[in-house]
Amino acid sequence: MEAPPVTMMPVTGGTINMMEYLLQGSVLDRSLESLIHRLRGLCDNMEPETFLDHEMVFLLKGQQASPFVLRARRSMDRGGVPWHLRYLGQPEMGDKNRHALVRNCVDIATSENLTDFLMEMGFRMDHEFVAKGHLFRKGIMKIMVYKIFRILVPGNTENTEPLSLSYLVELSVVAPAGQDMVSDDMRNFAEQLKPLVHLEKIDPKRLM
């Protein structure tokens, strides 16, 4: 049997090629309250929700130098919701005119036996973590404020410790490719969060 084709090309599944526009920042634990308060004022008029997710990152090594990465995520605090399998492409910084990081993304809701399926396909788990935090929404913008917890014993999500003393803040929009206007909205929104948190487009390649 042939190995599944592994490609680094943008995945054009479905009818529309979706892109994720992303801005990131972080706040210290002690300023979380004021940030949450500000977000409640700015975001859509609904009760802010908390979430507790477990994410596993799977790799598939092909002939190419860089492996193929898939992220499987499940909700730990809600029952009856599907798992989430996500492919994220290479982030593009773009020029000055685009105010957000853009990356290709494919989102699929899956059943619970996703890990087994991926393992069978030849993926192996690279790392896993638990994300716990708050979720806000303003129009099509999604704001996640969460803390990443390290899993001490692999597979045991009960036994965790915080990775840092700060919260990660992500402002993201999933939109069809080419709609760079959304990044303007994101920039405006990020401006309103200053100086509580500075949301910027952070190039992950530079951090490595």
């Binding site: 609904m46 997710d53 809600r78 599907p82 989102d107 699929i108």
Partner: protein
Amino acid sequence: MSGVRAVRISIESACEKQVQEVGLDGTETYLQPLSMSQNLARLAQRIDFSQGSGSDDDDAPADGDAHDWAGTGAGPGAEQDEDEGLVKFQPSLWPWDSVRNNLRNSLTEMCVLYDVLSIVRDKKFMTLDPVSQDALPPKQTLQLISKKKSLAGAAQILLKGAERLTKSVTENQENKLQRDFNSELLRLRQHWKLRKVGDKILGDLSYRSAGSLFPHHGTFEVIKNTDVDLDKKIPEDYCPLDVQIPSDLEGSAYIKVSIQKQSPDIGDLGTVNLFKRPLLKSKPGSPHWQTKLEAAQNVLLCKEIFAQLSREAVQIKSQIPHIVVKNQILSQPFPNLQLSISLCHSSNDKKSQKSTTEKQSPEDHLYVLEHNLHLLIREFHKQTLSSIMMPHPASLPFGHKRMRLSGPQAFDKNEISSIQSTEGLLEKIIKQAKHIFLRSRAAATIDSLASRIEDPQIQAHWSNISDVYESSVKVLITSQGYEQICKSIQLQLNIGVEQIRVVHRDGRVVTLSHQEQELQDFLLSQMSQHQVHAVQQLAKVMGWQVLSFSNHVGLGPIESIGNASAITVASPSGDYAISVRNGPESGSKIMVQFPRNQCKDLPKSDVLQDSKWNHLRGPFKEVEWNKMEGRNFVYKMELLMSALSPCLL
């Protein structure tokens, strides 16, 4: 000192020579003392000739003394030093010059005085008159002036004070006004969404935050009501805060829903005017901002409802297309029946006032539907809000939760399309209108039957609780006086949107369409069956035997509605038999079978010779039912049965 002669003591100044300066080595240089003549000249120069004559006498001896003193002090060398003094002190002609000048002036004055006096003495050219003392009058004016001045000063102070007072009073009043404005603004903020844009305060009337997608901006402006005169009395209902509402949201509006039996002329379409009740007389002055805003919001909501309905009316494909004309939507839920939904908006101007005087159509509002439309749009709003579910896990994009489940749970096409399809406002309201119409028509049918037909009786028990799309009624068919024994027909009518489902007591279900004739026919056939059932029940009570029973008789004339039913019962002794055939249309036909021996006209049979055969029943005879006594069918039957079974009495 007494007894001792006075001793003359001359006193000289201790230092004869005045020290001019003391040198560094201590040597003193002295001033040359004045000579006698010099001293005299000096003293003479001191004489003030201009002094008043009165004081001359006093001064003269003093001068003399001074001369003496100087003379005693200076000694004999006065004449000698006269030339030196001339050089030293008098740069002018000679030392006595000033004295001489003064004396001469005095002489001149004396001469003039002498001349004047001599002239006065002649009284020829000049007289001496006492001078009137005019000192007072000028003094009075001066006083007046000064008084005036001080009064003016006082007045100025008072005026200044008054000015400050009025200023502070107006400031106070203005502050009060300002404060009132602020407190009103605070109250406004508690109920309405406000934001500041530039130097304006804008508010939001729209239901957007509640989930509305209506594109109208619904913005009102908060203004400060300053057109009131502070000096005049402030009117009772004065409010320092006023709101400016967009012109298209002014006035009042409502949605009118009505069902008409026949379609109106095409010319009438869209020109329905709609204000049935006279407009409330607007109170003098502008209404309070709260009422104003609520009215405007209501207008906005009505507009949204109507816009939504019109959009759906155009989009939805139905057998009979919906018509949207101006402010009216027409739809035909049932044939010959027209549902009209109209937006009535009056903007309080003269044009609309005039139209209210026009003759109004009779009361045909469907208030329930109007209310339900408001409920539906709110539900619609809520749906748009609640469909925005936060995704879990958080990384998922926003979307419908059931849509996400469709993949993992392998939904088929029907299930997926059922998620997507949502019933529109218009469809729902048409369904409700259909139901309401069907219900009222069913009620009318039952009522008309009940009033038209006295025997048997129809009772309808409507349930209090019903759904917007379904209500139920229990129909009992009874005979008066025999309610306890004749309980055979109990029908449960479930009135839906398109049809009526009838559930019999024994569980049989009959589905009727919306045509009222069907229900009427059905009930008629049920009533005719009831009579036969009643005979059956009565037979049981009376001890008669049921020989045969059929709900649907296949023989005899064909009924246009349903089927005739028949029963044959035999008397307890078996001598008599009663046969009843009852059809919904043909009515009842009752036959009685007599024993053979009671029939005189029966031809003697050759076969039945034996007397025992006399107990066989003979031929049937029809009873003239109309002439029977009794108030209803069952009563008559009871009488008949009693008459035919005398042994029981």
